[in-house]
């Protein structure tokens, strides 16, 4: 019987249990951060348990980090969580990238960047966007706090195997559309729960042509479709990305040979198959309060279909029949584990090069890690943002969830490269419009959303 990529990785990690029932899986990499780790560490301590594999554990700080004045943590509870992580990592011998360290950043950005994220692994983290790592052809999913403690103590986790869904992406991606538009387009078409109970694999030529960064963006948002995981078959792009990174396997050739054995045999192996054609894809933006409430930039905001739509319109302060350019933007946020990698910043900077923000816009650019920040400073990208009038920040989750000082004020509209436009997500009363980095950057210059496929691309690229 043919098997999927997911099946093959799963099968190599089962320690006990039968399919259909909870199975005990080995965890190859456990990523931790300051918010969901204090209680698990405390649990270990009170039960006199040790952390089984500190060498397969990696900690960083992201959610609480103040990105403006990174060493000046004003909020008492934030500071307490970060100090607690610092202390716990010391006590349990866990490697930690703390504030200011070269390795610090958003947990889902630093895993791949350090070379910790590799194909055919099982990776978990106490954070729902762990699916991001699936871009490397790995089973990666978010876990709850008790599960964090369980993984710490046993390096394993009980899971019931989900069904698998293959999403075949066909066609050639039009200029100025991106992985963000693909995943937003899929969720707009199929809804925010079509992936519930499934492990999704994205495949097809359009996916093969995507960079690692772009694949990370797609897998990151697969959880907004209800799935716990999203993944892409590991290929040469994957191997090239890992090679030479700090934690890349020393015997790379042998590792690559092993990784190459992980792929879906054929489409019939999936429990469910969908297709999505990108040939006519337009840049996507959200108008409402979940990622499925999205439209192409050249469409009008849709009619009200139900009470949810009405509630979304009431909250967001828009009405049906509006053009994208009529959304009154105040802020822009380029950051988050969806779109804060170097490639994202580079694309955004292209849009802003030699230009200045519209007077109505306040812009926060928040690189996903210190390494990205340093690189962007070196290559001059940071300067482009600063010259355009943007605030160039320190790495962290920032306004993606506003658990730190970076909050979009109530009533204000933000064009955002993050992944969730939920009510209050970017600050109480904040109104989020998700889009790709290029769209958000272009909106900053114009002062409102524009269809970037109509822009003269020559101009964007002129040197």
């Amino acid at each position: 019987m043919s098997k999927t990529l997911f099946d093959k990785i799963w099968d190599t990690h089962v320690i006990a249990g039968q399919v259909g029932e909870p199975q005990l899986l080995y965890v190859d990499l456990h990523l931790i951060h300051e918010v969901t780790s204090p209680q698990p560490f405390d649990g270990l301590r009170s039960m006199h348990r040790r952390l089984r594999r500190p060498d397969l554990t990696f900690a960083t700080m992201d959610h609480n980090v103040p990105t403006k004045d990174i060493f000046n943590v004003q909020d008492e509870m934030s500071r307490l969580q970060m100090e607690t992580l610092e202390r716990n990592c010391k006590e349990f011998d866990v490697p930690l990238a703390s504030i200011g360290d070269d390795q610090q950043g958003i947990v889902h950005v630093v895993g791949p960047e350090r070379g910790l994220t590799q194909p055919a692994k099982v990776i978990v983290c106490g954070d729902s966007h762990t699916a991001t790592h699936g871009a490397f052809g790995t089973i990666a999913f978010g876990i709850g706090t008790s599960e964090v403690e369980h993984v710490m103590a046993t390096q394993t986790i009980w899971q019931v195997k989900p069904k698998t869904m293959g999403i075949k992406i066909t066609g050639k991606l039009p200029a100025n559309t991106y992985a963000k538009d693909i995943i937003m387009g899929i969720i707009a078409q199929y809804g925010v729960s079509f992936g519930t109970g499934y492990a999704i694999e994205f495949y097809g030529e359009a996916v093969e042509n995507l960079s690692m960064e772009a694949r990370l963006t797609m897998c990151n948002m697969s959880i907004e479709a209800g799935s716990k995981t999203g993944m892409v078959r590991p290929d040469q792009t994957t191997f090239d990305y890992i090679k030479g990174r700090e934690f890349a396997p020393k015997d790379f050739a042998a590792a690559q040979k092993y990784w190459e054995s992980f792929y879906t045999d054929d489409e019939s192996a999936f429990d469910e198959n969908l297709t999505f054609d990108v040939s006519d894809l337009k840049p996507m933006i959200t108008w409402g309060t979940n990622p499925g409430m999205a439209m192409a930039v050249n469409q009008l905001t849709p009619a009200v279909k139900d009470a949810n739509d009405q509630a979304a319109y009431d909250y967001i302060g828009l009405h049906p029949g509006m053009k994208a350019e009529e959304i009154p933007l105040d802020y822009l946020f380029i950051g988050s584990c969806t779109n804060s990698r170097y490639e994202d910043l580079e694309i955004a900077a292209q849009m802003m090069k030699g230009k200045h923000l519209a007077p109505n816009i306040t812009a926060w650019i928040v690189p996903g890690s210190r390494a990205i920040r340093n690189k962007a400073i070196k290559t001059g990208i940071a300067k482009i943002f600063e010259d355009a009038g943007c605030e160039w920040r320190e790495p962290g989750c920032s306004a993606c969830l506003a658990m730190n000082p970076d909050k979009i004020p109530a009533g204000m509209h933000a064009a955002s490269t993050s992944n969730r436009n939920f009510i209050g997500r970017q600050g109480a009363g904040s109104r989020t419009h998700l889009a790709s980095p290029a769209m958000v950057a272009a909106a900053g210059i114009a002062g409102h959303f524009v269809d970037i496929t109509l822009l003269d691309t020559e101009e964007g690229e002129s040197k």
Binding site: A16, D42, L80, E147, T196
Partner: protein, 194 residues
Amino acid sequence: MKAFTEEIGRAVVIPNDSINTDIILPKQFLKNILKTGFGKDLFFDWRYLEDGSLNPDFELNKPEHKGATILITGTDFGSGSSREHAVWALTDYGFKAVIAGGFSDIFYMNATKNGLLPIVLPEADRAILRQVKADELITINLPQQEVIYNTQAFHFDINPQWKEKFIKGEDDIDHTLQFANQITAFEQKRPNFG
């Protein structure tokens, strides 16, 4: 974890669909480093008025619902962020079981790990249960997998392993450590490329 075989208690109905973890426990309360003390912040935005006083119209605040241990709600309960704090807030408040049309996967698993019994019942059954009065008792019999109200019994499904854990009150980690030898054996044959 305390063993759970039977719960006979009063119920409170919050019928909304899609109550996400942000509603159950808003994110400003995540910054704790303990597992306890979240009960007072449960449903914070619904439970308290702007000035910090109790919202008298919210079900949990009505005196007749004080001490309720069973929550009856809509579909898609516990979606959104994976915060387990949402479950701790429910248990710290005193809830022993939540009866819903469905749960998000992560919330469901979190509940099973913290002794909060998640029960999925179809709308028709919940419509009857929603008629429960503040002073009436509902019985949840886990061995029989039944919710009993008045003379009616509603059957629910639960995975046998989760069921056994509830009945034994077993800690997950203790349970897994019975597999310690297999885990060690697995570690020895894991591929390692340096």
